[in-house]
């Protein structure tokens, strides 16, 4: 191998490392920056667990959205589906259903909504998931209001609130220092999805479908079945997010999650997943969620108005995708 070739190979390896872990560097940089600004508060246990609690909801929506975006799809309904799941379980709880059933209602309503999305895409053959999920966004929001009469319900049984509100004390530490259950659930979901995507054949098929659906089809992959599964999983995570939010707020309210789908899409894109499918990692999505969470936390600590937060997140989305465009242009074969 010539020197030139080995130098190219080394550059490609560096490019691959940057692609895989560069986003983590951004997160670390942000944390260092926030620590420098608020040294006495930012790195406290209370603030860090607070960040985890704040990002848990978007994290659950984002991991589902990531699966869908990997197949070059989109799910605009996750915010409404989350609200529908939340309202349904709050109503069941108010009706005095046993908690063991109430906590299943959230994820089940979500998965069922995802099934509707998936079947609309594959059986009705609607031209793009944008259309189907835009429709179900309205339908799920309407159902949320119809079943609740548009009024919030507050007060849930403690076991129902567990995922959203409870904390697990760490042995040997101060009782005030406890790990939020929502953070644990979030981490379990991320590890499970990472294993699913990287180790199982269906996970690899999801990447293949995003890369080239025709290739997937002629390779004997049942593309429609995989797509339905992906939308069911996305709905399931939206339902789980509904359960988590219900627990955290101790209520069900019909306006929950308005615009939440856009936050989820933003986190996935900031995390480096391609909107055209087939590219992205679970670690990247987690970093995207963290970046948005850290930004909000830091700006809150500095008393910056929420309007500036929106502006910054908008600019970061554009910047993140632009960096991706530059990187891809640089790695094109000469």
């Amino acid at each position: 191998m010539t020197d030139h070739a080995s130098a190219t190979a080394r550059n490609q390896n560096i490019a691959r490392l940057v692609e895989r872990f560069g986003i983590i560097g951004v997160v670390v940089l942000m944390m260092v920056f926030l620590y420098a600004l608020q040294p006495e508060y930012f790195l406290t246990f209370a603030n860090l667990t607070n960040i985890l609690k704040q990002i848990a909801n978007n994290a659950l929506l984002s991991i589902g959205m990531f699966l869908v975006i990997l197949t070059a799809g989109i799910d605009l309904s996750v915010g409404s589906v989350m609200a529908l799941a939340m309202m349904a379980l709050a109503l069941a709880n108010a009706d005095g259903w046993p908690w063991a059933i109430v906590i299943l209602i959230g994820p089940a309503v979500g998965a069922l909504s995802g099934l509707v999305n998936g079947l609309g895409l594959t059986v009705l053959r609607l031209p793009h998931p944008f259309i189907m999920t835009l429709g179900t966004q309205f339908v799920a929001r309407a159902l949320t209001n119809l079943i609740s009469g548009g009024a919030p319900i507050s007060g849930l049984a403690d076991p129902v609130r567990y995922i959203g509100a409870a904390s697990i004390p760490v042995p040997g530490l101060d009782p005030g220092m406890a790990i939020p259950v929502s953070a644990v659930v979030m981490l379990i979901c991320y590890v499970a999805v990472a294993l699913f995507l990287n180790k199982t054949s269906i996970g690899r098929h999801i990447y293949a479908i995003g890369g080239n659906p025709h290739a997937a089809r002629v390779s004997g992959i049942n593309v429609d079945r995989v797509l339905v599964l992906v939308y069911v999983l996305c709905g399931f995570f939206a339902g789980l997010a509904g359960l988590q939010l219900a627990g955290r707020t101790n209520s069900g309210f019909p306006n929950a999650g308005i615009g939440a789908e856009l936050d989820a899409i933003a986190a996935v894109i900031i995390g480096g997943a391609s909107f055209f499918g087939g590219r992205g990692t679970v670690l990247g999505v987690f970093a995207g969620v963290l970046i948005m969470g850290l930004l909000r936390n830091g700006l809150n600590l500095m008393n910056v108005s929420v309007f500036w937060q929106q502006l910054l997140i908008g600019l970061i989305i554009i910047l993140a995708v632009w960096i991706d465009v530059l990187r891809r242009r640089a790695s094109v074969r000469k």
Partner: protein, 266 residues
């Protein structure tokens, strides 16, 4: 009992009898007969719309024929999907290659047929085994790549074609159908792909090669058949024909043989 009409001739590996295919009012194929021997490389030529691709899509299970029957290894078969055709050992290399550029070489080769074990109803891919199998398979075919971990989109057109061929032959294929494998390649890569086809023949694999390039046909094929307007037009062992005669067949004319005898391939 009378001996069968074709007694003495070796039974073909793949045979299609009186195949017709209608798309609405259009007759794409009209009672086409087709046969392919073991280890034979057959060139299929014809103008655009002559029915080559339709016939190949029927043989590879993508289309069902409107009439006629397909016989594989002496047994009548009926394919409802490419999966069925694959199961008996008929593989197709598509003109657009049908590779997932975002995945590494080894994953493309085993896409849809990943080696691995079951866990909770899911197939857990044995990636180490998949890598090793891919390396060994590529070595067998004398295909050289830097690493089986390279994403397919990083490869040249010829290398991508080679990966597509490797995928088609990864599981004891007996027939490989190739649709214009050299059409999109740089000149220096064409030879490599053609040598790959010769290599398949040496391994006892039958190959059907659709091509417009006479150089390809006359370099690798044993026999050439021509379709014209959806019908069998001509069929001859390569040694008994010439480039100009075959070009004549594509245009639906016969009898160039004597006039252009100087072009005969020896």
């Amino acid at each position: 009992m009378e001996p069968p009409a074709d007694a003495g001739r070796e039974r073909p590996l793949l045979e299609a009898r009186n195949i017709s295919k209608f798309f609405g009012a259009i007759t794409a194929l009209d009672k086409v007969n087709f046969h392919l021997a073991r280890g034979e490389v057959l060139g299929v030529v014809g103008d655009n719309g002559a029915g080559k691709s339709t016939l190949m899509k029927i043989l590879s299970g993508l289309y069902a024929p409107s009439e006629g029957e397909i016989v594989f290894d002496g047994r009548p078969v009926r394919f409802t999907s490419p999966r069925d055709a694959r199961q008996v050992g008929i593989e197709m290399v598509y003109q657009d290659l049908a590779l997932a550029g975002n995945l590494p070489i080894y994953e493309n080769i085993y896409l849809g047929r990943e080696p691995g074990g079951k866990f909770l109803g899911l197939t857990v891919v044995d990636q180490r085994k998949s890598r090793t199998m891919a390396s060994e398979h590529l070595d067998r075919l004398k295909i050289h790549v830097k690493s089986v971990d390279q994403n397919v989109e990083e490869l040249s057109g010829g290398q991508q074609q080679a990966v597509a061929i490797a995928r088609a032959t990864a599981f004891d294929a007996r027939v490989v159908i190739m649709d214009e494998p050299t059409a999109a390649l740089a000149v220096k890569e064409v030879g490599k792909v053609l040598d790959l086809i010769k290599g398949l023949k040496e391994h006892g694999v039958s190959v059907i090669l659709i091509s417009h390039r006479m150089d390809d046909i006359f370099y690798v094929c044993d026999r050439v058949m021509a379709l014209f307007h959806g019908r069998n037009f001509a069929d001859a062992p390569l040694k008994q024909t010439t480039r100009n005669e075959v070009i004549g067949w594509i245009m639906g004319t016969r009898g160039h043989t004597e006039a252009l005898a100087h072009d005969r391939v020896h």
